[in-house]
Amino acid sequence: MKGLPYKIAGLLLILFSLTYGLWSEVPELPIVEQSIRNLFYHVSMWFAMVAMMAASFGNAIGFLSSENMVRDRRSISLAETGMFFSVMGLLTGMLWAKFTWGAWWTNDPKLNGTAITMLIYLAYFVLRNSIDDARKRARISGVYNIFAFVMMIVFIGILPRMTDSLHPGNGGNPGFNSYDLDNRLRLVFYPAVLGWILVGTWIASLRYRIRNLEE
């Protein structure tokens, strides 16, 4: 099987975060308490989503500069996988928010920014489905993909940092970095992010290969 090492590595890294993430000692924090462990699961969804969208963006540029349809198929497959991660991130975030901030949805700039980002990417899928000619679809959606990625960076990376936000690391709130003993968190968090990115790449490659078969 092609790419077997990275597939197994991805699964093992996630498995490590699922098991050791529940065993490990975590900092004692007010309000969040043990739910700080959601850092390993909820936040890694968003990191995986951004990685998938970045790869999709790279392939969109790749298509526009080479007119190679393979790049277009990679681009859409990665965007679909990124969308899956964002839905998972949103649902898990809502649950965590309910028991930390007291509501399923708050008007936090990061939440609203994420919702807008998801709508922008939903429009990307609608746009693709509305064009029958494959080359035309690839060209137009490639340009749109660039716009969507830049908007995502603005809405979830920049704007939340410029106003007050409930999320750590935004709007003057301390990031996870300033919590004491957070090396214990990092030890699980980074492998989880890497694992989900690897497995996300795998899932995207499966979708890409199915698309190739359909052509």
Partner: protein
């Protein structure tokens, strides 16, 4: 018969883990939950591999 014994002996560590007061009863039985999560996740990984193989088969036919 010998094969059966060999098969059973492969499970002895598991059986021992289930019977003694150590591993699985420790950590306020949190280890049992971690075990369940592990089984589900391994199943999910195996499922991904089976999809991968199925696609490979279709690619080879093409």
């Amino acid at each position: 018969m010998k094969k059966q014994i060999a098969l059973f002996s492969a499970f002895t560590p598991l059986v021992a883990a289930a019977q003694n007061d150590g591993l699985m009863y420790g950590n306020e039985k949190m280890n049992v939950v971690i075990g369940v999560i592990t089984i589900i996740f391994i199943g999910l990984g195996a499922y991904l591999f089976s999809i991968d193989r199925k696609i490979k088969k279709l690619e080879d036919e093409k």
